[in-house]
Amino acid sequence: MDDEIKYKNVKELPPMTVSTGLMLVNKTGSWRSLRPIIDEDKCISCMICWKYCPEACIDIVDDKPVINLDYCKGCAICAEECPKEAIEMLEEGK
């Protein structure tokens, strides 16, 4: 399901509107105006940021949260909910 699907013409189409690929092709990171930065010194790996992420784009790598910026829309729920205030939202482009 992870691959990009490229139909060239009507003959290649399935008979009905059936979706067989994943929206992972849609890199929603471009929506973002604020970029979350995790302060690793403050982070206690409670994974509350992972828990509340509406994008399901916080990966767990070596028991630590890693934000996938390809998909993060910058909603800042993670920063708001972090009990240690370990996530800072920085303006993109700065």
């Binding site: 399901m1 699907i5 139909y7 399935p14 509107t17 059936v18 979706s19 067989t20 690929g21 994943l22 929206m23 992972l24 092709v25 849609n26 890199k27 929603t28 929506w31 790996s45 409670c46 994974m47 992972w50 828990k51 509340y52 509406p54 994008e55 399901a56 784009c57 767990i60 028991d63 630590k64 996938n68 390809d70 998909y71 829309k73 910058g74 909603c75 800042a76 729920i77 920063a79 708001e80 909910e81």
Partner: protein, 293 residues
């Protein structure tokens, strides 16, 4: 590190939900609870649009899009097909917004629950027609602004109590849940999964775009809705009410003041809302007490 939710992600990144969408969080949790053996039926709602665009989807489980008022009836058909094919271990989850549940889909929902179809009906409630640009629904709370209840004529009707309506159908299981309490939400969906017959889960899903609040406030607002008794967490099993959280009551103003949709309300209206909330809470306590006896 200890995860309090199942790790498996059946909802993928890349969906088109607005920043901070509560409805997206609700789906993520629901699928964590129900797992891969689940067929989802979605009528017209925000999820119709945000889910994806042909030929892509953001669900790793089968999904049937269907017409606005047909979540419950189309789900009935899916269940019937699974039964004739002998696939009894598959969950059927209807997933509708408040418009599709409280309003246009009410008849089909009533029919399916009366027939006690074996399915889980989830209403993710953002208290209005948010997908079409914030119009009032019969779930919009008293006092709220929407584009069809402008500030000079703000919403005057009271939000329907869907759980009570479901309980009146003798539904085996009905519950409220909140995206601020995902462990509770998942527990409830797991319970729903274990019960045969119709199940109704009412999830409050704050909508930053429609509630006129910052995108980072979604969880906070959902939590405040519980803490102020605006949206109490409870479940009803075969008519027996159990309140899951009896919070030390915060004033409703803490909840209302964070949302632009209530910005216009006077102190009098705010007081009225507080009275309604208190009365609703007392009623709920009484239902719990009465159903214990």
């Amino acid at each position: 590190m200890r995860l309090t939710l199942p790790e498996q992600e059946l909802m993928s990144s890349g969906h088109k939900g607005c920043q901070g969408c509560g409805g997206v969080m609700a789906m993520r949790y629901a699928l964590k609870a129900l797992g891969e053996d689940t067929i989802v039926v979605i009528p017209a709602c925000c999820w119709t649009v945000l889910e994806g665009e042909f030929p892509y989807t953001s669900l790793r489980v089968p999904l049937l899009h269907t017409a606005f008022e047909t979540a419950a009836s189309a789900s009935s058909g899916v269940r019937a097909a699974l039964r004739v094919k002998g696939k009894d271990d598959v969950n059927v989850m209807a997933w509708a917004g408040d418009g599709g549940t409280f309003d246009i889909g009410m008849q089909a929902l009533s029919g399916a629950v009366e027939r006690n179809e074996d399915f889980i009906y989830v209403c993710y409630d953002n208290e209005g027609y948010m997908n079409t640009g914030i119009q009032r629904s019969s779930s919009t709370p008293y006092g709220a602004w929407t584009t069809t209840t402008p500030v000079d004529a703000f919403e005057k009707a009271h939000k329907k109590n869907m759980v009570d309506i479901m309980v009146s159908h003798d539904i085996p299981y009905a519950a409220t849940a909140s995206i601020a309490y995902p462990e509770d939400l998942i527990r409830k969906l797991n319970k729903a999964k274990s019960i045969e017959g119709a199940k109704f889960i009412h999830i409050l899903a704050p909508c930053p775009s429609g509630w006129r609040c910052a995108s980072n406030q979604t969880v906070k607002l959902a939590r405040l809705a519980v803490e102020t008794n605006v949206f109490p967490l409870y479940e009803v099993e075969h008519g027996k009410y159990t309140i899951n959280r009896k919070p030390r009551k915060k004033p409703a103003k803490e909840y209302l003041s964070l949302q632009g949709r209530f910005r216009h309300i006077s102190d009098e209206v705010a007081a009225e809302i507080q009275e309604q909330i208190d009365a609703g809470w007392e009623k709920l306590l009484k239902k719990e007490k009465d159903s214990m006896e």
